[in-house]
Subunit: 237 residues, 2 copies
DNA sequence: GTCTCTATGATTAGTAG
DNA sequence: CCTACTAATCATAGAGA
């Protein structure tokens, strides 16, 4: 009965694997909770287990979302960015407008998601007794996933746009705001873009019949002077 | 130096908290990796730390985009495509059209996904010969995730296309900006392509025998870069 | 602040019921 | 299948460089 050093490879034995899975998942969740409480950070984990029909999410109510959203809304650079370079002002106006819509849309879409999940639950399984927790988990997962997506996009936008991107190039030629400020503003821009498109995407997924109106813009490509305006129109309707 | 039992509460001391955070985050990531390999499951964690501007995700790329990136790297046409990337208007045009199509596809796929989920639910948990219910369910989630990834990339491509337009205009007005910008544009284009092909693949998964042809629009543009047209057509088929 | 060290508490593999 | 137990391994708190 001497315990061996654990061999870090797939456990062939089915029952042993499941046992290990259960134990280690529990440990993992505990670790996450501990990290959260000890260090005051938001953290969550998603485990796609073959033993459960849906991914398991921890914490059950991922407040990680809240943190990000809060940070998001706390963006003070947003206001400054309104007064930025002239050439970008029209884009920023649209962004601001779209951001207002975003809030509303996200709220609506979350409701729709929940409704849909409940619907699935009721239709498919003949009732939701006993499944409420799992479905709630799914809801948390959905929301969190979306936020992850947004974060990822922010990351990419910063990486690509921040170093060689169009916005930075243009900005540099018109007015020099100093390195730190410029970066911050670019951040703001990228984040708003990210959130806006996410909102749009979600809306399109659920409002099935409402987006047939893009065609008018698409065949006017010869007009280069207003390319950006066209793009914005197409994008933000 | 007798170590106490850890007090499971917020660590007041700033530096101690940060140290603990670093250590425990590392441990957490290790645990996740171990759980994954030992039990053959997919798992990821997200930590929103105040010490980094963006949330940290583990594994670095949790199953999304993997496929797309792989496909992108496998593209031998990449070198050739540098030429056509110069055609900013062409790219913008394509992005707009592709975005429209893919959003449509998204809606369609969403519906099909729901149908499949309904079907699965009606079948119940006991049945599903051949494939485990959990597996199918996981696949549904996976597909959902991929769809989101696609949306993300489309929106991103739109964003870059629009700002890229700004760069192109600037370039025309002032002077050639050199290789850096070109490379950036290539990336935008390639990423857009990657997302497009991913979308197509998912459509094929659902439309098994029923592959709709969305290509008829593509030959309507009068861009004279035939190589580019062929290349993108190859992706849209 | 970071990195290393190591004793100890925490986790968990293996086993038994 | 599960829970309980134990001991071996692992993670990490605390201290010092």
């Amino acid at each position: 009965m001497t315990r061996k050093k654990v061999n870090l490879a797939f456990i062939a034995n089915d029952s042993a694997r499941k046992a290990t899975f259960k134990k280690r998942k529990k440990g993992l969740m505990k670790k996450i909770t501990e990290l959260s409480t000890l260090c005051g950070v938001d953290a969550c984990a998603v485990v796609y287990s073959p033993y459960q029909p849906h991914p398991e999410v921890w914490p059950p109510d991922p407040r990680a979302a809240q943190h990000v959203v809060t940070q998001f809304k706390r963006m003070p650079e947003m206001e400054q960015s309104k007064k930025m370079v002239n050439q970008e002002s029209f884009i920023r106006q649209r962004i601001t407008k779209a951001a207002e819509q975003l809030k509303k849309l996200q709220r609506e879409n979350r409701e729709k998601e929940m409704t849909e999940l409940m619907y699935k639950c009721l239709m498919g399984r003949g009732g939701m007794q006993g499944l409420g927790v799992g479905e709630l988990n799914d809801m948390g997962w959905l929301i969190d996933e979306r936020l992850k997506e947004i974060s990822k996009r922010i990351d990419e936008a910063l990486k690509k746009g921040g170093t060689g991107g169009a916005v930075a190039e243009k900005k540099a030629e018109v007015v020099d705001l100093g390195g730190g400020v410029e970066k911050q503003q670019l951040w703001s821009f990228a984040e708003w873009m990210g959130s806006t498109s996410a909102g749009e995407e979600i809306m399109l997924q659920f409002n099935e019949g409402n987006n047939q109106n893009h065609n008018h813009n698409h065949n006017h490509n010869h007009n280069h002077n207003n390319a950006a305006v066209m793009w914005s129109n197409a994008f933000f309707h």
